[in-house]
Subunit: 487 residues, 2 copies
């Protein structure tokens, strides 16, 4: 009779037609009763038969719920006395505020001075920066290769952290042919885009709190990766020859890492002179420092063969070379690589094992095939011609629609131009208006560490087709004309 | 005449039939002459016509080489005086030792106490730990879905750092149905396996130098991720109820993060009791700390429904829940997830942007489809039945082939058993012999922080088929019998 008295406690509002099965409703009901103190430790439960009768369900349903509660320790079974509520501590019910959950201080150093690039395909690609001509990507061919590479699905187990050997070999061959330096495939560490390469290198090469010399203005992605890894970016100014090594020596003599984009500096487009390259290499040797060379768009050089990489001048192993497929295939592919000296292969191997283990396989296989069968060379050549045409269209449209105080100079390389703005324009104002009008151009200021020395807007010309470039420029012209400074 | 005198300097051993084109051979020859000081700054070059005659090549070939050297700054053009060698600093030729390139001290804290798992499919899967039955994976179906998901290739541009929305939704639905907790899809951060989730969480939640409470023995991958992020693992012993919260309070009172695998502790297999779970949750609230719950193989529970997740008991947002598809689909897929409180979504978004930007898309799409069309539930159910059978085979074979001093207890969950070894065996010796015999079992010692309290071997039973289990056990029995301690 003692047990029976506890039945009313269990009055459960069971709903036979609900999506949640009855045994689960019972399980949750009892669980809740224990947590909230309606049922207390030591209380003996009625028999499963009695509960089934009370709740108008089958005994099997009751037993299913009770078994689970037993297995989880909410109930305990004592010989001859049936099931009892276990000695479960109550959960304190103090109100908790999720808003009080703060990330670490080191994480809070990360911030993005510019909204990230859009994810869904936009109405028009004018003037997305750093995005290749996605409309011209050979989708059919890529799909065919994907289908073929997917045929035997032989890579189900964990793979090598440093990348699929086929892709390492294909890239080694490509670098030798396109960049003229010979490396063994094992030195090529496959990464999840250049962002991943930057992040790994920062950790493998430097201690938290170390300084890293960065071009100013410079690439935001690199700054984010370095901050995330606990490094302190030191801005180094650029002159016509590029990165000012003497400034670095004077102002940050302890620096052990320099990040540069010598082939086509991002975002100014400056090509680092040979003399300056050699000076930088000397600095690295003397200082026992490292250089991270980001060669993100070397394929797109219009007046000559690509400029020789800094890496190909180096005989000390102190230049780590970063490449990406985001600019020559497509960004969502998430494949890049970093070429490291033999003595650091193991360190990168371990860093990847500790952070992501390895990358998915299919994309690596398809990319290796795309390169090895020669499609890559064909695609790069076609895009190079296309982008040169598109740059000409942009320059012509700019001359037609923009005032003399806002013009861009032609460039012998790359996928974007810098539109320099005179003092009678407000960069912020123009950027905001242009973004509101659907133009994907980027503001120049966020790329500066500290106060920008000049105003400007970045205009990508690789992604938009000619019509989009012309229409976008007409729209930008109207915005500039109707927004004089202080208006 | 002055110019002409310099021609002999340029004697180049050109090879018309070599793979390297002639213009490139000329380019490299001049470049080398400048670097090594055979050509000096200010020296005037002969005319291209004269060089072409001297070298027996077309003038066009010479011009192609000179143009490139001009573009890169090796040569400079002066009006009326033709081309001159530019003022290029010599590269110092001091011998440099690549072996001197050391990774950072923080990186050197990482080490692997056990060789990593093999990459090519082995002869036999006995007794690979943490590997599902790859032979039983529905490859055909997966290939069909991949083909379908690959059809429109619509995701070429950068995508959301926190994951493909379809997959976030599919996982939210799966967690609600299988784990009984309701989260919005945005709270599910898609990661490159659970390793990536651990690495991100360590950075987002803690400062470098902070302690993290870890089960001892515990998961090696978590220890690696924490070390890589600059954390200091504190070993916390286990008793029959699991993680000893009181020990943590006493010995590391400042700890702000605990990593646990409460459903099925890795590698001991202990299920954390309900009372202990609630004690741990109370600790987290009082301490304003976080809990990382690694629910890596909750699907494989044989005697009851899966044990309720710690996450489902938590009302404070302090439990971050990690899941993986490595154990239920296949490891090389590289997909996992971490469920975070709404107030931390942005921090994870930023951490991913800074380190890998986002994951490849195709695998995410296929996995989302696999879940949504119900194949996932079917596969998990089939594997659960299969693994229970395989465990029985393993236990039976162990009884037949192993001595009483080396036996494993049955387990109600998971994919491996712990073979405890008495003092008359040497774990190291047996492990080495077994590995040499092609058995993929793992040594127990590396999972301990500090001195192991007991000896053992880990035997995975999910990957090998019945034949492989029986043969592997016979082989292990022979090894144990012929290797008494000290032999």
């Amino acid at each position: 009779m003692r047990q029976r008295s506890s039945i009313p406690i269990f009055a459960l509002a069971l709903q036979p037609n609900a999506a949640t099965p009855l045994f689960k409703q019972i399980d949750q009901g009892i669980r809740h009763a224990i947590h909230t103190g309606r049922l207390n430790p030591g209380q003996v439960l009625p028999s499963s038969r009695a509960l089934a009768t009370e709740w108008c369900v089958s005994r099997h349903t009751v037993l299913e719920a009770l078994d689970q509660l037993l297995a989880e320790g909410y109930l305990e079974s004592k010989p001859r006395s049936g099931l009892r509520v276990a000695n479960v501590p109550h959960l304190s019910r103090q109100p908790t505020s999720h808003a009080a959950l703060l990330p670490s201080q080191r994480h809070q150093k990360l911030h993005l001075p510019q909204e990230p690039r859009v994810y869904p395909p936009p109405h028009s690609w004018a003037f997305a920066v750093g995005v290749p001509a996605l409309d011209e990507f050979p989708k059919r061919l890529w799909q065919t290769l994907t289908k073929r590479c997917n045929r035997n699905l032989s890579h189900l187990h964990y793979q090598s952290p440093t990348g699929l050997p086929e892709l390492q070999r294909a890239i080694a061959g490509y670098l030798q042919q396109a960049r003229g330096f010979v490396v063994s495939p094992e030195q090529i560490i496959i990464t999840n885009g250049s962002q991943h390469a930057l992040s790994l290198a920062a950790h493998v090469l430097l201690e938290a709190g170390n300084t890293v010399g960065m071009e100013n203005p410079g690439y935001l992605g690199a700054r984010l990766a370095f901050l995330q890894s606990g490094l302190e970016p030191v801005p180094v100014p650029l002159d016509a020859d590029g990165f000012d090594v003497a400034h670095l020596r004077r102002h940050a003599p302890q620096t052990k890492l320099v990040y540069i984009s010598p082939s086509h500096q991002f975002p100014t487009g400056i090509t680092m002179s040979l003399a300056r390259r050699l000076t930088l290499l000397e600095w690295a040797k003397q200082q026992q420092a490292f250089i991270l060379e980001d060669d993100y768009d070397f394929e797109y050089r219009y007046n000559s063969k690509p400029i020789a990489a800094l890496r190909s001048l180096d005989d000390s192993g102190r230049v780590l070379y970063i490449g990406t497929f985001s600019k020559v295939l497509f960004p969502a592919l998430r494949l890049g690589y970093i070429v490291v000296p033999p003595s650091l292969i193991e360190a990168f191997w371990m860093a990847i094992l500790a952070t992501t283990r390895h990358l998915p396989i299919l994309e690596q296989k398809v990319t290796a095939t795309f390169i090895e069968e020669g499609h890559f060379a064909v695609h790069v050549r076609a895009m190079k011609n296309l982008y040169l045409e598109r740059q000409a269209v942009l320059l012509q449209a700019a001359e037609q629609h923009l005032p003399e105080t806002a013009q861009c100079a032609p460039s012998q390389a790359g996928m974007h131009l810098l539109l320099r703005l005179g003092q009678n324009h407000s960069e912020t104002q123009l950027h905001d208006h242009a973004r509101n009008a659907g133009l994907l151009l980027e503001s120049y200021a966020p790329f500066w560490l500290g106060t920008p020395a000049e105003q400007g807007l970045l205009l990508g010309y690789a992604a938009p087709n000619e019509k989009a470039i012309r229409e976008g420029m007409a729209s930008l012209g109207t915005i500039i004309a109707s927004n004089p400074r202080g208006a």
